[in-house]
């Protein structure tokens, strides 16, 4: 076994080799580990946030829905005919049916809405017991008491309402500052255009924390909130062992267009699709960060292998097998990866926890509203991300490890320089193939609603760009090769970069990988923000905007009130709008059905149209779809579609318009068509043009005075500038995580560059000794190093910028439309380009300079002697 033991490297020897290497190059190893850690942390953190948010979201849905097996739900707040309820109850396989009135409601002075549920408690008891109220204990001295059916009247009290704990707390502590809500406290509740005083009767113990739900009797809800004859939901409990598919099919056959069958699966698909693109995008960005980490490991390992060529050669001469060397280098990379990945998992949990607390489950993206989710730890995902981090590090070490094992020991023992012959032209074939494949992928379609090919394209472009670096560096430097420089330091710097192409390429890999990703993201965000800014200007043409606080379904201004506002002094014109959610399919989130004061001939006057509008066929009802609505539901201008309102309405898609506000899409009807089709002539928002010279404050006061009292309480006014600021603030908040990611990418990139350059510089101690011997001054060497670093940085920035710009176009024209369904125009963040250029060149030059100082502090003679 002697030959076996000498063929392998013993454990202590291995540890000694690794630790020795790390002691000499702590910064570079640390940078590589940190890069892996950042990638793993981001990926894992984003995953945890999503998992927590989705858990929270489905819990929210489950709370509102109780524990129903199946549900028939209306596609819009208008509901469906209650005659459907007994028919559903009689379907074979249905054990119990519970009819529900469900409205979005508001309390005066509360910006956040609530869900008002009208229940038949007898039916709900069997189907959705979690929604049953518990009356507060009666105040002492109340004569009623005892058991039996005597207090049945209280249960059906038309004004009695049961509040979820969160709502009770909110009302108590909210802006209205009511004293702790006792049984019998009176609240005025606005929903479906009515404001009704209700009496607090008790609490909803079965409703989860954070949910804002009020439950009252179904008959009272129908009567008080104008829902006579209408239901928004029927919850169903199936007979044990019933054939689910058969029951669903039977129900589906009897549903009118206004209602749809909702199962747990379709609901979770809907909640999933709500934020799927957003989540996948963040995960992809995290994977890109991990990939950058892999490149940094690669460059760190390459340099370390290059530096230790003679060391490895010695080991080989002493009898170590090639394979053992390969394993040695891979293990080095693996240890770096494992340490980085472990660190990343911890960071990820920390990141997720902080983000959930500060930004909420959607990272400020606005997809989920309501309670703040608790962190849900995911052990499987932790393993996966740990594995990915390890894989990246080992993968990054593979090429250097091969190089170390394949080197001829006799040559390597003597020569510590570049293994690649500088006179050989670097190959470009592989890089070209990768780049071409990347370009081809960019033209591919979305897969399962996700821009997977877009991301593949970006990864291929990145790989191609990095692979092209040796060739590109040569190409970029060749003009300098022929030139003559007066300063010897410049001459030396250029020759050195020319003469050691693979060392230059390795340094450039890290620079290009991090720079290009960072630039791509920065260009995309800048383009998006610029487009949103422009769009805000287009959609906010008027001087003053009015809306009623709380959800828009809660109520609005009737036609008489609208006419009254128009006649007020100082008001030149008012455009009223109204929107309600409308579900076009059970699996996609609801679109907004919007009434807008536009004329069918000229929608462009108030809508940012895309393309020219289609002529509307005579007699047709036109709709204008927002970009996301058209994309999600597969419609183009000139198509016909059916809206599930008023028994199903065929409408003509007269044009598309740009909308960044509603990611799930919006369908616009003219105000007249909207009122005709929905029977709803109330308006919840108004955009007001003022007469020249009119005083905004005075007009606001007049408007407020002209509103009915219940609406006046809820009315909110804003100037376009304020709305713009709020909207852009929201934008920045939802991209906060992206900004953080960008900053991290820049810092990791800079650190990587600095570490690489300084390592390369330190490895050249004896070269500097030689130069000193032949009469080159210390200052000249320093200047040479600075110029080398700057040149390297410049080449890296040029390549990184170009690659980044190409990748940003993939993000803008492929990834974004495919995941968010909207388009934007490219904006270039010149200032950022400048900063990145200066920072990168400065970092590489500065790092070279600092390392050079250290290397030069050695005695020149000793430096040369170190060779032996």
């Amino acid at each position: 076994m002697t030959s076996g033991s000498s063929a392998r490297i013993s454990l202590p020897a291995m540890a000694w080799l690794i630790l020795g290497e790390w002691r000499t190059q702590p910064v570079r190893v640390a940078t590589a580990a940190i890069a892996i850690a950042v990638g793993v942390a981001l990926g894992f953190g984003v995953h945890l946030i999503n998992a927590s948010a989705l858990t929270e979201f489905s819990r929210a849905i489950a709370t509102v829905n109780g524990d129903a097996d199946l549900q028939v739900a209306s596609v819009s707040p208008a509901g469906f005919d209650e005659a459907l309820y007994p028919r559903l109850a009689r379907v074979a396989g249905v054990a119990r049916a519970s009819p529900v009135v469900q409205l979005t409601a508001a309390l005066p002075g509360e910006a956040q809405g609530l869900t008002l549920i009208g229940l038949d408690i007898f039916r709900a008891a069997a189907v959705t017991p979690g929604l049953l109220g518990r009356p507060d204990p009666a105040p002492s001295g109340d004569p009623s008491g005892g058991s039996g059916f005597g207090d049945a009247g209280a249960v059906f009290d038309e004004t009695a309402v049961f509040l979820s704990p969160a709502l009770r707390e909110a009302v108590t502590e909210g802006p209205s500052r009511r004293p702790a809500l006792q049984r019998g406290a009176v609240l005025s509740l606005s929903a479906a255009d009515r404001t009704v005083p209700v009496t607090v009767a008790g609490t909803l113990p079965g409703v989860a924390e954070g949910r804002r739900i009020a439950v009252m009797d179904i008959a009272a809800a129908q009567w008080r909130f104008g829902q006579l004859g209408r239901l928004q939901r029927v919850d169903l409990k199936l007979v044990a062992g019933a054939d689910r598919e058969a029951v669903q099919a039977a129900i589906a056959r009897m549903l009118p267009p206004e209602a749809e069958l909702v199962t747990r699966e379709s609901q979770s698909r809907r909640s999933d699709s709500l934020s799927r693109a957003y989540r996948v995008n963040l995960n992809m960005l995290a994977l890109m960060a991990l990939l950058t980490g892999g490149f940094l490991v690669f460059s760190a390992q390459s340099l370390s292998v290059a530096r230790r060529r003679s060391q490895f050669a010695l080991l080989r001469v002493l009898g170590t097998r090639r394979r053992a060397l390969l394993i040695q280098v891979l293990i080095e990379g693996g240890v770096v990866g494992a340490v980085g990945a472990l660190l990343g998992l911890g960071l990820g949990v920390l990141l997720a926890d902080t983000a959930l607390r500060l930004l909420g489950g959607d990272l400020g993206g606005g997809y989920f509203s309501g309670g703040r989710p608790d962190l849900v730890f995911a052990p499987v995902a932790a393993l996966v991300f740990f594995g990915l981090g390890l894989l990246c590090a080992v993968g990054g070490s593979l090429l250097p490890a091969r190089e170390a094992s394949l080197a001829q020991p006799a040559v390597a023992l003597k020569n510590a320089g570049d293994a690649v012959d500088p006179s050989q032209r670097p190959a470009i074939g592989l890089a070209l193939c990768l780049l071409l494949a990347g370009a081809a992928c960019a033209f591919g379609p979305a897969i399962g609603g996700l821009p997977l090919l877009g991301y593949a394209s970006m990864a291929l472009l990145l790989a191609g760009g990095v692979a092209a670096m040796p060739w590109l560096a040569r190409a970029l430097l060749s003009p300098l090769q022929g030139a003559r420089f007066s300063a010897p330091s410049t001459e030396l710097a250029v020759r050195r970069l020319w003469g050691a192409p693979s060392q230059a390429a390795v340094a450039l890999c890290g620079i290009v990988a991090s720079t290009s990703l960072m630039i791509a993201m920065a260009v995309m965000v800048a383009s998006f923000r610029g487009s949103v800014d422009d769009w805000l200007g287009q959609v906010l043409p008027d001087d003053l905007y009015m809306r009623f606080s709380g959800p828009s379904e809660a109520g609005g201004l009737d036609p008489a009130g609208q006419a009254r506002l128009l006649t007020l002094p100082g008001v030149a014109g008012v455009h009223f709008t109204r929107s309600q959610p409308l579900r076009l399919s059970p699996e996609s989130p609801a679109v907004a059905l919007v009434a807008q004061g536009i004329r069918r001939e000229d929608p462009g006057a108030r809508l940012p149209m895309i393309g020219s509008p289609r002529p509307i066929p005579a007699g047709a009802t036109p709709v204008w779809l927002s970009e996301p609505a058209a994309w999600i539901h597969g419609k183009r201008a000139g198509d016909w579609m059916v809206l599930p309102i008023a028994g199903g309405q065929k409408v003509f898609v007269a044009g598309l318009w740009r909308d960044y506000a509603r990611q799930n899409g919006a369908v616009i009807l003219t105000s007249e068509d909207y009122s005709r089709l929905t029977g709803d002539n109330l308006r919840a928002e108004a955009s007001i043009a003022l007469k020249p010279g009119a005083d905004v404050a005075a007009v606001t006061a007049r408007l407020k005075a002209a509103l009915p009292a219940d609406l006046a309480v809820r009315a909110q006014f804003a100037r376009p500038g304020e709305i713009r600021a709020i909207a852009l603030g929201l934008f920045d908040r939802s991209f906060a995580i992206t900004y953080v990611l960008e900053l991290v990418a820049i810092l990791v990139g800079l650190a990587g560059v600095a570490a690489t350059v300084s390592a390369q510089t330190l490895a050249r101690t004896k070269e500097f000794g030689m130069l000193r011997h032949i009469g080159v001054r210390r200052g000249q060497i320093t200047a040479m190093l600075a110029q080398e670093g700057a040149l390297l940085g410049a080449v890296g920035v040029a390549a990184g910028l170009t690659l980044g710009l190409v990748m940003s176009q993939v993000l803008i024209h492929v990834v974004n439309p495919q995941s968010f369904h909207w388009t934007m125009e490219t904006r270039l963040p010149w200032a950022l380009f400048g900063i990145v250029t200066v920072a990168l060149i400065g970092a590489s030059a500065g790092a070279a300079l600092l390392a050079g100082r250290r290397a030069l502090s050695l005695d020149a003679v000793r430096a040369v002697r170190e060779d032996w």
């Binding site: 209650e82 309820y85 007994p86 109850a89 009689r90 119990r96 009819p99 005066p108 038949d120 007898f122 039916r123 008891a125 008491g145 005892g146 058991s147 039996g148 059916f149 005597g150 207090d151 049945a152 009247g153 249960v155 059906f156 009290d157 038309e158 209205s176 500052r177 009176v186 005025s188 404001t195 009704v196 005083p197 009797d217 179904i218 008959a219 009272a220 129908q222 009567w223 006579l228 004859g229 009292a709 219940d710 309480v713």
Partner: protein, 361 residues
């Protein structure tokens, strides 16, 4: 100060909104129970929705051929809660129907029971005003053209599919169906019974369906003000004697257990009816049983003595088994004891209410 004023403003606004809502609350007006109201059939087999409360109460004994006897209860109730009568919603809870069914199988040792409750409407829960026909989802009690009543009720543990055929004409309780329930004039109900009904049908236990035969008792009662304020509950018994006689006895108790009112009737097989007043009926507890679940103490064994023209007659009622307590609180109902009892060949049901807490109707 401003905050107070603004809150005051809000309150005033709420008041205004209420006022603007206009229609003041319309409370239900319950029909009074008046003596001399004739009882007619089949109309009075049907519901009387203008009254506050009403029931169709079937109890009886059945047995599988050659098997042990079992008791059963299939009872439908109608109540008219105090809800705003102006509410035009089809869901307005102007009438609530509920039903209990229980099977007293000595082999099980406690009641198997289930219940249904629903607001009347949509054809899912209805009580006909023309004839005996009450439906709540899959449960029903219907009188057919042949005068036979068919009931369907059951749950996860048991199922009852029984037909009741009258063997005697209806028994009008009190004075021609006007039955006093307390010392005050208004405390009364319209009350008739169908004793000695022949039972046929099937009982399902443990997934096994078996044919059964037996004797049952249908009580029909409707009222608006039944109980005296001092009353906490009542004891009631309806016993089919083997010779075709039928005993009805009830007492309304106060908190001390003393009778506030009592009454009943005795009908001989040939139809001679003796109405019993407060002085004619006494309940004497012989043995009590404490429920392990609710801790209520029920006099499950009682001697009922009635004064008949020919002299007093006592029936010593023993339960089929002790634990026949029915806890219907899950469905918003009371806790009571409703059990099969017998004295030799005289078999019937004893109902004990108000032993857990005061019963309100």
């Amino acid at each position: 100060m401003r905050a107070i004023l603004s809150r005051l403003g809000l309150c005033l606004m709420a008041l205004l909104i209420t006022a603007a809502g206009g229609d003041a609350r319309v409370a239900p007006v319950y029909a009074p129970v008046t003596a001399g109201t004739p009882i007619t059939f089949p109309r009075d087999h049907g519901a009387h929705p203008e009254f506050r409360t009403e029931w169709w109460y079937v109890t009886g004994w059945v047995e599988v051929q050659g098997g042990e006897p079992m008791g059963f209860q299939v009872t439908f109730f109608r109540t008219r809660p105090n809800v705003d009568q102006a509410n035009p919603s089809a869901f307005a809870a102007k009438q609530i129907l509920f039903a209990h069914a229980a099977l007293a199988d000595p082999a099980v040792g406690k009641l198997l029971h289930d219940q249904r409750v629903a607001r009347a409407g949509f054809g899912l829960a209805e009580a006909s005003e023309a004839d005996g026909a009450v439906v709540i989802d899959d449960w029903s009690l219907r009188r057919g053209g042949d005068d036979r009543w068919r009931s369907r009720a059951g749950g996860a543990d048991f199922n009852l599919d029984l037909t009741f055929a009258p063997t005697q004409p209806p028994l009008l309780q009190g004075q021609g169906g006007f039955s006093r329930k307390g010392p005050a004039a208004g405390q009364a109900s319209h009350y008739y019974s169908l004793p000695q009904m022949a039972v046929t049908g099937a009982v399902t236990r443990g997934g096994k369906t078996q044919k059964v035969t037996g004797r049952a008792w249908l009580d029909r009662e409707w009222s608006s003000t039944l109980l005296d304020p001092a009353a906490v509950g009542w004891d009631w018994a309806g016993i089919n004697l083997a010779d075709g006689s039928a005993l009805t006895a009830f007492q309304v108790r106060d908190a001390a257990g003393k009778p506030v009112w009592a009454g009943g009737s005795w009908r001989r097989p040939e139809g001679q009816l003796t109405a019993l007043g407060p002085a004619d009926v006494t309940f004497a507890p012989l043995r009590r049983w404490r429920s392990p679940r609710t801790k209520a103490l029920y006099p499950v064994e009682q001697a009922i003595t009635v004064r008949l023209p020919e002299g007093p007659r006592t029936l010593t009622l023993k339960p089929l088994f002790d634990d026949q307590e029915l806890d219907s609180r899950a469905g918003g109902g009371p806790v009571y004891w409703e059990g099969a009892v017998s004295d030799g060949s005289a078999r019937g049901y004893l109902e004990l209410t108000g032993y857990f807490e005061k019963l309100t109707l």
